[in-house]
Amino acid sequence: MDGHRQLVNLENIMKSFNQNAVLKGVSLEINESEVISIIGGNGAGKSTLMKILTGVYKPDSGTIRIGGEIVESYNPHVAHVKGIYLVPQEPVLFPNMTIEQNLGIGHPGKLKKSELRAKAKQLMEQLEWNLDLNRMASSLSIAEQQQVEIIKGLLRDVKVLILDEPTSSLTFAETEKLFRIIEKLKANGVGIFYITHRLDEVFQISTHAVILRDGKVTLKGDIREFTKDMLIQGLLPIDSEKKGKFSFVKRRVNRVKEEPVLQVRGLSGDGFRDISFDVYRGEVVGLAGLVGAGRTEIAEAIYGITKPYSGQVLLNGKDITRLSVRETIDQGLAYIPEDRFLNGIFSITSITNNVTAQIIRNDRFFLNRKLERTVTDEYVSKLRIKIVDQEDEIRSLSGGNQQKVVISRILATKPQLIIMDEPTRGIDAAARSDIYNIIGQLRDEGYSILLISSDLEEIELICDRIYAIYRGRCNVCLEADEIDVTNVMKAAFGTYEGV
């Protein structure tokens, strides 16, 4: 592009996991002294692409050229040798080693200890980061850990450096210093991929921007040609590919007459501050935002998994702040956790046992197996769950059907309010519209639903009202008539300024 030497060229990279296409033919190249910002919503394929670039994943098809040569057998070791290094968003340090040991371990070069120290010190001086190399990694704050990861990358004489949301836990001043280092690396000819959600930063440091959406590059070019609005536009779906033929009539609840089912008042806790919102009967309310914005933390504080610092949660006018999970369930709250495999299902046991896990509490002492089967049958037919036998293990089901089993489990407790955290993640398109139908059906039956989703199109599609969470704060509420993809997107990226 600028006549600089080409460092890496990815051509038509495709990658899918379990028939789920994540990258649908991505081409990307980086030359010396370029800083390319990669922007995309959650699930756009950014991290998969970067993992392919660093040899962690093998692409299904497409070619990788490094320094003009096609690389055949590629793995993380080769990537290190060729000078490609990824600074992960979540630091992977060895907690019980010192910073120095962390910097040294796995270093490809035969660097002497004293040289390593000197080099690290020099880098830290430039960055004005003051870290004692003898400190244990476990004693570092998250920002410091990230600094170590960045230094680790810089120590390696990299040619291509990938920074995955490096500023997500740095302060403003620390960020500025990092940017100065990036400028310097740029001047030295290093190519940098910069993954971020913060659009301001994109304009501040990058030379180019690439927008990934749904496994494809939708926008690519010199940063000087773009404005913020153009970037937002690039993130939006093209009308024709909107989710299916599904239509949802948005509802406006008469909020003057009715009491809200759930009231959250000034709730603050780890990862969120001063959150207030309401959910009314028969309403689907969305909590929009990006991963890490604090939505799950809010939900967990409401549900009783964690304790908030201050604020109030009322369910049907009753104060349920700081109750235990069991007590909030008794009060009529239900929560479908975001990571189904990690928190949602009991994988190696039967479908029945999964459906009844919460209602067996009502049994006196011995289990009522007959009732368990009846209840399971009821929900299997109600939610049209495709199963062969109730006694089959739940992991034999598809993701969508697993999720329906989880929904059955919480419906069986007859809740007042259902919090759904990313209910359609990792689910194919058909099952997805099934879940949407179920949400609609539940709403019509009078359930109140709080929907957390990073899929902004999904949230735009099915929510009657949307609150946007941006970096732990809730400043935007979109009413039914304000909801459109652009506004939701802007709100999630913290750039919505009202109508």
Binding site: H77, M97, M136, S138, I142, F272, G472, R473
Partner: protein
């Protein structure tokens, strides 16, 4: 005031990083307390004796540390010790040289370690269960090997290797301590030596850093078994004659306890052979201290058992607190600060 607290904080950090010093503190406390009641406990002779009588445990604890660092456990060391004691004693009795016995013992250790290591790293069997079964098998193999009888009629030359002294100090103790220091330096300073701790510290990180995880786990088990095998030879030489079929029975638990007392974490990633050594000396010193205090010996297991539990519980509370703090920081770092508040 703040200076004081600063110092205490840095002392705290130092102790966290060098957990072996904590055990060393226990050891000194033990000596001082016992010394107050009975000054003869503090004689150099007695101290030398403490080390001398813990040599078998020191060697085993050193090997065990490798396994524990990778986050695994090796219960089979008692069985390895017994078998190698039986084999080496039999070789010497039948006229073989001590060198032959030594080589045989090393081979036994290597083979058993390889089997354990392959089972754990390749077949992914829980090390506890696998080595527990292995221990039982080795015990019986030892009984069969000895024909159910004690190994008798050993030449006195066999005892000499552990009795040799330089200036009144056991040569064996000196050699073992020097070796421990060497291994300590290897594990803490050498690039590859640190791989063991890295694997137990964060296995995914070790994989990302390009460490051959499986191979190093196998090395760790081999190291543990070889050490136990050498300990077996020394054990046999110490006894000198009439090696019983129960040689080394229950040693595995004492050795693991010594390691934990010495600051080696059973969760992996933390600890040093120096700490394990101090732990081993501490374990044997408790027995001798009770003798000097004229306290009955039956207090020993209660003391070491409750100390063990106290230490792991204390460590866990500390780790828990740190994790909570880290999580809090991580979440709150993301929050957009509207007002610049301190």
């Amino acid at each position: 005031m703040s200076r004081m607290s600063q110092i205490s904080v840095s002392v705290f950090h130092f102790l966290r990083k060098h957990r072996e010093f904590r055990t060393f503190g226990f050891l000194i406390a033990l000596f001082v307390i016992v010394g107050i009641f009975n000054a003869s406990y503090l004689t150099p002779d007695n101290m030398e004796n403490s080390v001398r009588s813990s040599v078998v445990y020191i060697i085993m604890a050193t090997g065990m540390t490798f396994v524990l660092l990778t986050g695994n456990i090796d219960i089979s060391v008692g069985g390895v010790l017994g078998l190698s004691a039986a084999v080496s004693a039999t070789i010497v009795r039948n006229g073989g040289s001590i060198v032959t016995a030594f080589v045989a013992v090393i081979v036994i250790g290597l083979i058993i370690g390889l089997l354990n290591g392959l089972g754990v790293s390749v077949l992914k069997i829980q090390s506890f269960i696998l080595t527990l079964g292995m221990n039982e098998v080795l015990r019986v193999v030892q009984v069969i090997f000895q024909g159910g009888r004690n190994v008798e009629g050993l030449p006195t030359s066999f005892q000499r290797i552990t009795q040799h002294e330089i200036l009144g100090v056991s040569t064996l103790s000196i050699v073992v301590i020097l070796l421990v220091i060497g291994i300590h330096l290897f594990l803490s300073m050498n690039r590859k030596g640190r791989y063991f701790a890295a694997i137990g510290d964060k296995e995914e990180g070790a994989v990302l850093a390009g460490i051959p995880v499986k191979r190093y786990k196998i090395y760790a088990f081999m190291m543990s078994s070889v050490c136990a095998a050498i300990a077996g030879l020394i054990f046999a030489s110490r006894i000198g004659n009439n090696i019983p079929t129960t040689a080394g029975l229950g040693y595995e638990m004492t050795v693991i306890a010594a390691c934990v007392l010495g600051g080696v974490s059973l969760a992996g990633g933390v600890g040093s052979v120096l700490g394990a050594t101090i732990g081993a000396i501490f374990m044997t010193s408790i027995s001798s201290a009770l003798v000097f205090l004229k306290v009955d010996a039956f207090w020993k297991d209660v003391i070491s058992g409750s100390l063990l539990i106290l230490i792991v519980v204390f460590d866990m509370l500390l780790i828990h607190r740190n994790n909570q703090k880290a999580k809090k920081q991580r979440l709150n770092a993301r929050v957009l600060e509207i007002r610049k508040e301190m």
